[in-house]
Amino acid sequence: MTDVQTISIINAVIYLLLAPVVGGLIAGIDRKVTARMQGRIGPPILQPFYDVGKLFEKENIVVTTTQNFYVLSYLVFMVAAGMLFFSGGDMLLVIFAFTLSHIFLVLGAYAAYSPYSHIGAERELIQIIAYEPMIIFTAVGMYMVTQSFFVSSILTSGIPIILYLPGVFIGYLIVLTIKLRKSPFDLSTSHHAHQEIVKGVTTEFAGPNLAKIEIAHWYEYVFLLGVVFLFFGFNPILAVVAIIVAYFLEILIDNVIARVKWQMVLRSAWLIAGTLGLVNLGVLYYLKVVVVP
């Protein structure tokens, strides 16, 4: 086994073990900052861990037992996508695994008979359709700049990718709002508007199953912020600052913007992907800005 392989396996294992810790802390800080923005004291930073600990102590109520399988698959494929990413794997494969994991969540919600669960699943599908083009453009943009779909090559290329892909980066931040279930685009779980469609896609998951969905979210947080890191891969300190600023902006947007209808989500996400994303890629192609031969 070569050194590179060993390092990539170690990275993947570190992600497997530490991502839930980091993701949970991010979620905790998120809730605290949100509370302060609303003039509240807010829950402890460790609150997300208490929540998940509690959910594992509860009874697991399922309508159909296939729900258990779908939720587990959601978690497993989310972890797999993140591990592939952090081991320096192929971006396209990462995106496929990432999308597949969300499809499992949608299937899990459809497996129950509740109309709320079905509405949530439908909205989750719409959200997937909305953000998917921009995620693909992100991978393609990175390929056009660095001539590689492999995360390890993109990271070690030393190219300031953000300078070549400013449009793609802004577009990515906007779909990040959908992915982090933040306010203007938070349709499928109605995370903040409790009771609107009960709890959307997670309505029919109780106890341990809900805890697994929560843990999958933590893995997802770390993976999504890892992609932000990739844009600034040439300077790790700048990359961490960029992640913090990006996440703070997401919390701010979450607190100041009212939620929109699903048509608006689809329209704005595609409009952003079509303008900022495609135009950025088009300009790159036209100028033949390829740094690495």
Binding site: R31, A35, Q38, G39, R40, I41, G42, P43, P44, Q47, Y50, D51, G53, K54, F56, E57, K58, E59, N60, I61, H194, Q195, E196, V198, K199, T202, T203, E204, F205, A206, G207, L210
Partner: protein
């Protein structure tokens, strides 16, 4: 060691009467009292809830709804009856359509009297319920096989 007491998620239901207590429950969720400090989240979903807050006396029309919500909550769970109507029927107890306090329909763990109950006493009642929640968890662990039936209400 149980995490239940650190993250009680609530669901509230107003059975009938004047709705005053329900407004006080919502007041406890505002930034002034900010119950999220204690990890309390207001879920609209019985399947995610640990504490069931009921205000108002129960009537013939909605006793099935009350029972339904209770049965959909996963164990362990706690019911807090808020306000004098929920505890005994209050001034409405003689009405032709009123069944009485909600303990006529579902088992109640904590009674919070008052007309209307103040947000402070509601929070106090929920905190009292947390001790019962932890005890129920213990009991659930001891008799694991029949855990499904604990608290089932037909």
């Amino acid at each position: 060691m149980t995490y239940l007491t650190k993250s009680p998620w609530i669901i509230h239901y107003d059975a009938s009467s004047c709705n005053g207590c329900d407004i006080e429950v919502l007041a406890a969720l505002t930034p002034l009292y900010d119950v999220e400090r204690f990890g309390i989240i207001n879920t609209g979903n019985p399947k995610h809830a640990d504490v069931f807050l009921v205000t108002g006396s129960v009537n013939e029309q909605n006793k099935q709804v009350l029972k339904n919500i209770y049965n959909q909550m996963p164990n362990p769970k706690v019911v807090v009856a808020i306000g004098i109507c929920a505890t005994s029927g209050g001034v409405f107890r003689e009405c032709y359509n009123v069944v009485g306090g909600i303990d006529k329909i579902i088992p109640v763990d904590v009674y919070v009297p008052g007309c209307a109950a103040r947000p402070e006493s509601i929070i106090d009642g929920v905190v009292k319920g947390l001790g019962i929640l932890a005890a129920k968890r213990e009991a659930m662990l001891k008799e694991k096989p029949s855990a499904q039936q604990v608290g089932e209400c037909r």
